[in-house]
Amino acid sequence: MSPFGRKNRRSGQQQAAAAQPGAVRLSLSRTARRAGMFCLLLILALLVNLTRVQVVQAKKYNDHAANQRATIARYSQPRGDIIVAGKPVTGSKTTGNSLYRYRRSYTDGPLYAAVTGFSSQTYGNTLLEGVEDDYLSGSASSLSTRPLLDAISRSQVPGGDVYTTIDAKAQQAALNGLGSKRGAVAAVEPSTGRILALASTPSYDPDGITGTGSAVTQQWSTLAADPAQPMLNRALRQTYPPGSTFKVVTMSAGLANNVVSGVDVATDSPNPYTAKDTSTAITNESAGDACLNATLEYALQVSCNTVFAKLGVDVGEANMVRMAQAYGFNQSSQTVPVGVVRSNFDTGLTGQAYLALSSIGQYDTAATPLQMAEVAAVVADNGTLMKPMLVSRITRDDGTTVQTFGPQTFSQPISSTVAAEIQQAMVKVVTDGTGGNAAIPGAVVGGKTGTAQHGIGNTGTPYAWFISYAKPSASAPSPVAVAVVIEDGNANRADVSGGGLAAPIAKAVMQAVLNG
């Protein structure tokens, strides 16, 4: 019914009037009603258009990159914390800016930068701050205890806390050990896969880049322009040729596939070794002819390239690849939950020469420090590889648990028997071989040094590696396995060796864990 009145029913008298000349137009009330309808149509058009903007296309506008609302909401409350050994290593500070009210702060930024990453109002979130952002920012739906009510009332849920597996002392030892050298440390607990330390140097203080403004962009440009790449997480995001430390994997393949029947059995290894399809011989660093037909134990102890190069060829491409992958190589999307770059062992190698080089951790073989810590961990954990994990628990702001993460087995690359044999050889490396600097009085330490060539024609300063594990006693389970890499462009080339530069750092980290 028209709100503007009705149309008139004409009486006879009015019809008579209509017949009068000059009365042929529409009546005022008729035209007024139409004009009124027009006015209501205008308002109806507004409502239809509002429905388009506020309901139909709302998501498009809400998710628009230029819409600041999501960002404002994110920074309108303190962010949840990242917790190491029961203590938060992060915080939130008011910015004084009314738009983005809280910025991230770090209690000990450089120490944990490789773990936390940063949460910046200008540059986004990385590492744990990135992958656990939904929980830390409070947007994860599981943080809400009253999801429906919160959705209707649009109340904001406080950010949750992320508990890491990091051991504060091991982390500190790693950073102290690396000091001003360029390199990385990764340490895991072999029986669980819990990551105990992740360090990358030079480190940086993420606290300086969390806000907005010119000071922040200035700081960022400085960090980004630094040739030492302080913001690069070398423990997880950089691969290096593992060099001799990879011999542990080759040894595993040889023993597991029965190419060699035991660590103390003499091998059939020439010195120097020249693969069939090449004329370039592989030689050894160590003097004399001790590597000729050496046992695996001795070959590991003095790091015979010839023995392990030939062993890799004897094991064969397929079995080498299988073993490397069982150890965790070639995973293209590994997360801990922070993403870890792929460690590589070439597949489909047709030439023996390349397989030989790959088997001693050269050619295209490349590994992250975390990957090499896993190699040591497999040996220490009697042949089982646990999935590395950095987060143990996520809680709500009130302390109640949202999610707990337990140990998960990744693979069983070698039997416990083979693992025991390799342990025996690795212990020898520390007691009698190249890894003497890692020895800890009163503890059983197994290790392997590595000095990896790199660069065109191997002209770059070599990378110094050390991987190891420690046990309080021979029969006890190992609480820590560690990998250290040093890439020091400034060091004297001759001084760069796994045993010299890297082993002391590994020792410090293991000691920190052993001493609890």
């Binding site: 019914m1 028209s2 709100p3 503007f4 009145g5 009705r6 149309k7 008139n8 029913r9 004409r10 009486s11 009015q14 009037a17 209509a18 009068q20 000349p21 000059g22 009365a23 042929v24 137009r25 529409l26 009546s27 005022l28 009330s29 008729r30 035209t31 007024a32 009603r33 139409r34 004009a35 009124g36 027009f38 006015c39 209501l40 205008l42 308002i43 058009a45 507004l46 409502l47 258009n49 509002l50 429905t51 903007v53 506020q54 309901v55 296309q57 709302a58 998501k59 498009k60 506008y61 809400n62 628009h64 990159a65 230029a66 819409n67 600041q68 609302r69 404002i72 209707i152 649009r154």
Partner: protein, 497 residues
């Protein structure tokens, strides 16, 4: 002007008792005050976590204003429509709430001055209600009002542009938009002019194809208004005022004459004026471009422009809104409390709140039209319809602009937006509607002006059971629908030949 003779009101005995509905008005007005006070408290508790200390003061202030207005209505417009005042109080009160809310977001203080303007607005409302004894007096001053307001509108052309448009007169700290009050003056002028001239405009013309087009010589007035609107558009870059002037005139012309031909002529003339300006005048052109591509500035890497920010605000509000004080419409930046105030309503009250708000406007518009239907004299009819249309057009042009339905025009939402001129104008508009509704419902309606009805012709003393559409509230409808029988005529007595 011929319509100058106004016969003394000749009271005719009322056919039964007409309720004054003042109690309804009082209850609704107080309810409107309560809603506004609640909104004020809600803003405070959302932002500070506690009810603002001056909530009572604000409530008392608004309440006193509302009660004074109500008292004036009781005194001098006893039979006025009971919905008009509550709607105006509600809109003004909500406007104050949102301006206060935006004050808090922008660290400014506009609410007190808006409250002062509201006070002046209500004072003018009261003045109109008390001192305008008979609205038909306005017919006498139609030309004076029209020329006066045109003169006022010419002044800003010679003043420097403020915010890209030459529509302001600035005297010291006070600024005034003559275009606002000119709208009412022009509505009065149109009503007076059409009340007299509508027979000529309606009944002469030549038929071209299916359209009954007006004769050339009758085009004079529409050409004058067109020139005026176009001048506003060209010289003041004020697309909104131009559209409203012209839209108002075309609608009133149609209502008065019932001829579609006028609308056709009007649309062509609007097109002739607007299209070149939209294409070539930079200020207006940019508005058209924004309308078509609201996100273009983002894609160009310059960040979201005001229209994009407004759309973000509306979208963020969604169905139910964020709640008062919890949105981020301040991101719109400049003029967020005036031109863009509706975006804050949209974000914080949601589609539901906006629908309610638009319905409040619709109620005022509908009531204006009803008054027009009931009134006897053509001037009154045209004026109340004109004023209601004016309100509807303003709401459409402003709300359509900030929601990307039509190009943005930089006008202010009636009653809600910050801005003294607009607020005063709309209080006067409501006062006029209210006076006319009082005249319409008053028992013993005065006789029509002599010029249009035989002075001796007595009005029927009782509404005919069927036929006359003058019965107050008579809304039953038995043959709605066939709109096109053009020979239906109204209730107006046609002079004997």
């Amino acid at each position: 002007m011929a319509a100058a003779t106004i016969p003394a009101p000749a009271p005719v005995p009322a056919p039964g008792r007409v309720r004054s509905r003042r109690a309804t008005e009082l209850m609704l007005t107080l309810f409107a005050v309560v809603i506004a006070v609640y909104g004020y408290a809600d803003v405070g508790s959302a932002i500070d976590g506690k009810v603002p200390a001056d909530t009572v003061g604000y409530g008392v202030g608004l309440g006193v204003l509302a009660l004074l207005a109500h008292a004036a209505v009781r005194l001098r417009a006893k039979y006025a429509d009971p919905l008009l005042l509550p709607c105006a109080v509600l809109l003004n009160g909500l406007g104050l709430v949102v301006i206060y809310r935006l004050d808090r977001a922008t660290a400014t203080s506009s609410a007190p001055s808006q409250l002062m303007w509201s006070t002046i607005g209500v004072a003018l409302f009261i003045a109109v209600v008390l001192f305008l004894r008979d609205y038909r007096v306005l017919q006498r001053y139609a030309y004076v009002l029209a020329f006066g307001s045109i003169l006022l509108m010419i002044v800003p052309i010679f003043l420097p542009a403020v915010y890209g448009a030459k529509i302001w007169i600035k005297i010291g700290p006070l600024s005034f938009q003559p275009g606002e009050i000119a709208k009412i003056a022009l509505a009065i002028f149109f009503a007076a002019y059409l009340a007299v001239g509508r027979d000529v405009l309606a009944l002469t013309g030549r038929k071209i194809w299916k359209l009954e087009l007006p004769r050339g010589r009758d085009l004079g007035p529409i050409v004058v208004i067109w020139l005026l609107s176009t001048a506003v558009l060209f010289l003041e870059q004020d697309l909104g005022t131009c559209l409203i002037f012209f839209g108002l005139f075309v609608v009133m012309l149609y209502v008065a004459t019932g001829r579609i031909g006028w609308i056709a002529v009007g649309l062509v003339m609007v097109g002739v004026a607007v299209v070149p300006v939209a294409l070539w005048e930079p200020h207006v052109h940019s508005r058209f471009v924004d309308w078509l591509y609201p996100m273009a500035s983002i894609e160009a890497g310059q960040g979201a422009n005001q229209l994009a920010q407004s759309l973000f605000a509306f979208a963020a509000g969604g169905m139910l809104g964020t709640g008062l004080g919890q949105g981020h419409s301040y991101l719109i930046g400049f003029a967020v409390k005036s031109d863009w105030i509706l975006s804050t309503f949209g974000e914080e009250l949601g589609l539901v709140g906006l629908a309610a708000l638009l319905l409040v406007y619709a109620v005022v518009v509908v009531r204006g039209y009803r008054t027009g239907r009931v009134l006897r004299d053509p001037f009154g009819r045209l004026l109340s319809i004109g004023l209601a249309t004016l309100l509807a057009l303003q709401v459409f042009v402003v709300a359509g602009g900030v929601t990307d339905l039509i190009p943005l025009t930089g006008m202010t939402m009636p009653f809600l937006a910050q801005g003294g001129s607009s607020l005063l104008t709309n209080w006067i508009l409501v006062a006029l509607l209210l006076k006319m509704s009082d005249a319409a419902r008053r028992p013993g309606l005065p006789a029509e002006p002599g010029v249009l009805a035989p002075p001796s012709a007595p009005r029927p003393t009782a509404p005919a059971p069927q036929g006359d559409d003058g019965g107050a509230g008579g809304d039953d409808d038995s043959d709605e629908g066939d709109e096109d029988d053009g020979d239906e005529h109204g209730t107006r007595a046609v002079p004997e030949p």
